[in-house]
Symmetry: C2
């Protein structure tokens, strides 16, 4: 089973990578770009009997820092 | 308009971050995890009249390295 996990910074957490992208897009002449936030996408192949609880545990223990990051699990 | 851009390594390109995640999940006792690939997610707020061509240009010029990465643009 294919799983996509999206890890994003919580609102209010400073995002230097997003700021750098925003600045660079402006320098390249792209207009109308507002807020930019950079996050992570983790694509995993897991056993079909992997339950939501296990996926949640993976995120909490390893993939996301829940102090500053949110995560979303999507079964592809 | 909110845009999500997913940047992933092309198949066949070595992914040390994905390998490290795979290894760490194994060490933590999670079983049945197969291939893991790490990618990027970029969330942007752009002007409503931004066309697909401009978004494509942003990806090609800055956000993705098209030699080794694929990108997918999603209007949220």
């Amino acid at each position: 089973m294919k799983i996509n996990i999206f890890v994003t910074l919580k609102p209010g957490v400073l995002d230097p990578q997003g700021r750098a992208i925003h600045h660079a897009l402006g320098s390249l002449g792209f207009e109308g770009v507002g807020d930019v936030r950079a996050g992570k996408l983790i694509e995993m192949e897991v056993a079909d009997d992997t339950d939501d609880q296990a996926l949640d545990a993976m995120c909490r223990q390893l993939l996301a820092n829940t102090v500053i990051e949110n995560y979303r699990i999507e079964r592809a």
